[in-house]
Symmetry: C2
Subunit: 129 residues, 2 copies
DNA sequence: GCTTACCGTAAGTCATGACTAACTATGTGG
DNA sequence: CCACATAGTTAGTCATGACTTACGGTAAGC
């Protein structure tokens, strides 16, 4: 877990998230990224600096160019962070569901339907009013 | 997936993250949260509003008080978002490692964190709503 | 060596949002 | 009905950070 705080702050910015998602599709140089983005090249450089220090991307030199690609470390850090809360939310949810029965447990409007993580929730919760 | 964008933006703020983590430990009222935090009660109220619209917390009335607790939906949204990139980063990593061999692939030093999140990727359970 | 291409850094501007203080609204108990 | 307690809302202030322009620095081609 490199630093989930930095990773969260980094991906909160739309431009940075866009850069990150493009790098997830394919590694790219700074200029190539800036060419397809609505911001200047220095802006992209600054964003990459933030992403790198957050452990979300890594780079290497190729002549005068620098090729950036995503780094699994940062993703893993965030994954572990939320895994922790996932457990806690499950425990809480189960307690409320059992002791409160059908009072206010329906407060959470489970919008998420399918998805690996959501399934683990609905799998164990089993709220049979 | 409720809205991973809003969820990421919400948890990027330190105060909001602190509130969220406290709610993960135990559901609380607004005043109780503000009493243990270095900010005023209206500030907590505003943060809770953001967290709620991001699907990260849910609330219910208890007299004049409002009890807030974490909502699994928001966590699930972020989980799914990163799950997607986890796959891509793994694929990328494998390609680079195999085709580059020992050139400059050492740029990304993320071999350590394989276990934890990888498990989640393989955990695809399924169920019907 | 000199030019060209590519990138990072510095300084400065400007908008977003986090915060407080004052007010309003609603529920509870005498 | 009145006093109290709790919480959401509004207006305004202030700091953080996202962006651009200008500059410096390094590697490749002629």
């Amino acid at each position: 877990m490199t630093n989930y705080v930095a990773a969260l702050a980094a991906l909160a910015d739309p431009t940075r998230r866009e850069i990150f998602e493009r790098l997830a599709k394919s590694p790219s140089a700074v200029g190539d990224l800036a060419r397809d983005l609505p911001v200047s090249r220095p802006a992209v450089s600054q964003h990459l600096k933030v992403l790198k220090s957050a452990g979300l991307v890594s780079d290497y030199a190729d002549g005068t160019r620098r090729i950036y690609s995503i780094d699994p470390a940062g993703i893993a850090a965030i994954g572990e962070y939320f895994e922790q809360f996932w457990q806690q939310s499950l425990a809480r949810f189960r307690v409320i569901a059992s002791e409160a029965g059908a009072s206010e447990a329906g407060a959470s409007q489970a919008g998420a339907s399918e998805g690996t993580v959501t399934e683990r929730a609905t799998h164990s919760v089993k709220e049979e009013t």
